[in-house]
Symmetry: C2
Subunit: 368 residues, 2 copies
Amino acid sequence: MSKNNPLLEAFNQTIYPVGGHSKRNIQVLKEVLNEIDGNLDSDIYGSGKLIENFQEEMATYLGKETAVFFPSGTMAQQIALRIWCDRKGIKKVAYHPLSHLEIHEEDGLKELHHIETILLGDKDRLIRLEDVLHMQDDIACLLIELPQREIGGQLPDYEELVAICTYCREKGIRLHLDGARLYEILPYYQKTAAEICELFDSVYISFYKGIGGIAGAILAGDEAFTKESKVWKRRHGGDLISLYPYILSASYYFKQRLPKMNQYYEEAKMLAGFYNQCHGIVTKPIEPATNMFHVHVDLPKEKLEPILIALYEETGIGLIHYVKESSETSCCYEVSIGDRFAHIPKDELRKAFQLLDVKMREAAALSE
Amino acid sequence: MSKNNPLLEAFNQTIYPVGGHSKRNIQVLKEVLNEIDGNLDSDIYGSGKLIENFQEEMATYLGKETAVFFPSGTMAQQIALRIWCDRKGIKKVAYHPLSHLEIHEEDGLKELHHIETILLGDKDRLIRLEDVLHMQDDIACLLIELPQREIGGQLPDYEELVAICTYCREKGIRLHLDGARLYEILPYYQKTAAEICELFDSVYISFYKGIGGIAGAILAGDEAFTKESKVWKRRHGGDLISLYPYILSASYYFKQRLPKMNQYYEEAKMLAGFYNQCHGIVTKPIEPATNMFHVHVDLPKEKLEPILIALYEETGIGLIHYVKESSETSCCYEVSIGDRFAHIPKDELRKAFQLLDVKMREAAALSE
């Protein structure tokens, strides 16, 4: 793959790759299993201590009655919305125009569950209280994604979030939290997971973003809700005889990385600061609200890539492994901070960005 | 769990458990990973050598153009039937009354895909050519399960199978093979997997029955079919970022156990022979067609269980870990032969069945 992709190839050669925890390789699972006694019994179709204990632990962490482990968030969230629609007798939900369900799931919600979706607010900003207040349609459920990944991981003020949720509660609209990156928002809000989840009827969390597990998700809510979700889990083909490779890795890396979320957040702010000092580069948001942000560059992708490759070769620091075209004259990419960032000598990082700034100015001068 | 379940507890204490390969514990995965270099890259959302190579290998094995790895057969088979229904513009399929889709999937096919099902033939026997010939409804697809698990793993004669498939082909009805136990039928038919699969448009195989992997399935067919199946896989929430724990274990145990299918089959016939020599016990089928069969006992469950427990304690041989009530006066269970059987001293096994015969006669005399 990397043979046809010089940027990825150069990135893979760097001493200090900047984002994420580590390579996505089999070692991630081997490390977990080295700590586990081989005599531990597998989970069997959702039963057994291995899965039940983890579900209980996560329910407690999220401040919910019960929790169910799912192979994927795609499955968990469609099911959550389906249950709330069935309860309310309205097959309509609302979410952000760039919700994962709208752009990354091949319309599973519509094709499998025949649920209509209202896109609330605009693509390039958060859902606001006024969007909710002015909603014309009767909906069963509002899905809120915290942080809003596709706009750089932005977060609403806590007060606005509470106002939105309070309004929905009063109107009998169910609230579902897309918490794929829930742990990552806690430093910003200075709240516990349970305090955030209290605003919602149901919550989904993921284990392979900030936590760095292999795959898998938890869906949490009250007992009737999770019981029903297990029936749908079987219907979707998600009630696997054994989910333990995902559960064990979720549990292992949850313990390891949950305490580091504040560190990732501070590091993301530092890194965004470096980016924003470069000519023709701006991060979105300017100051990250979590461990992630987007980088927008005023150069076409094909002009930025050779600059990055040269930078990696000269400094040993790998800023990113891919670049996405956003227009004929600009490009962008997403950065998420994990374990790797702490290992980078910050002086060298600073120098790399000074060099990037120089190269960006040269490129701008050339194209004038 | 076993504390409230004396039969399971006694079974777990035996030196020689009779069915299956080994305990379903974490060691099953540890053994696989010990053989794998930690630097091997993960699959990413269905891409990467790890998943692509295995899919190609399985396509070749099954004699199909392409193959897709799924987390579960439940997901793979619903999707296969959905695709054939969409192609034909008829939302109706036919299968055996005890098909996995009908009794073990919480009606996913109906609830998610709105596909109507025709139950062909009777619960206690195989689908016959005449059932297919007399079918009134227009259907998109006929699903055939080989072997028919819920009636003890029975198999139609090859000639009848060919006649059924030929008739469907002529009528434009698509054929899907539920091959959850495909490897296990090859010794009976004396055919290759590809020769059997040639009769079908699409095929599903599983990796945690005879193969003894952790979970996972392959769906195979022509290129247009598998391409469409990947879209539905994402919709179902089955396009996990990483499926490698299942793929690696499927591949490992496939290589290890595929050559043993004939041995399991011969051992199943031997074991069924022992059962059928016992008073009040008969296997279904009398002579197994695969590595599996059902055991039917003319005693109520609560009378058989103490007999089995006593037998396990006296002989160290564990025949089964559960018994299912089939009526007030009878009970049954399923036996599948795997690696364990070869380790049992056959003289001791013979003695255990002689003792079981004595105990069954005593119980019968007592209840007269």
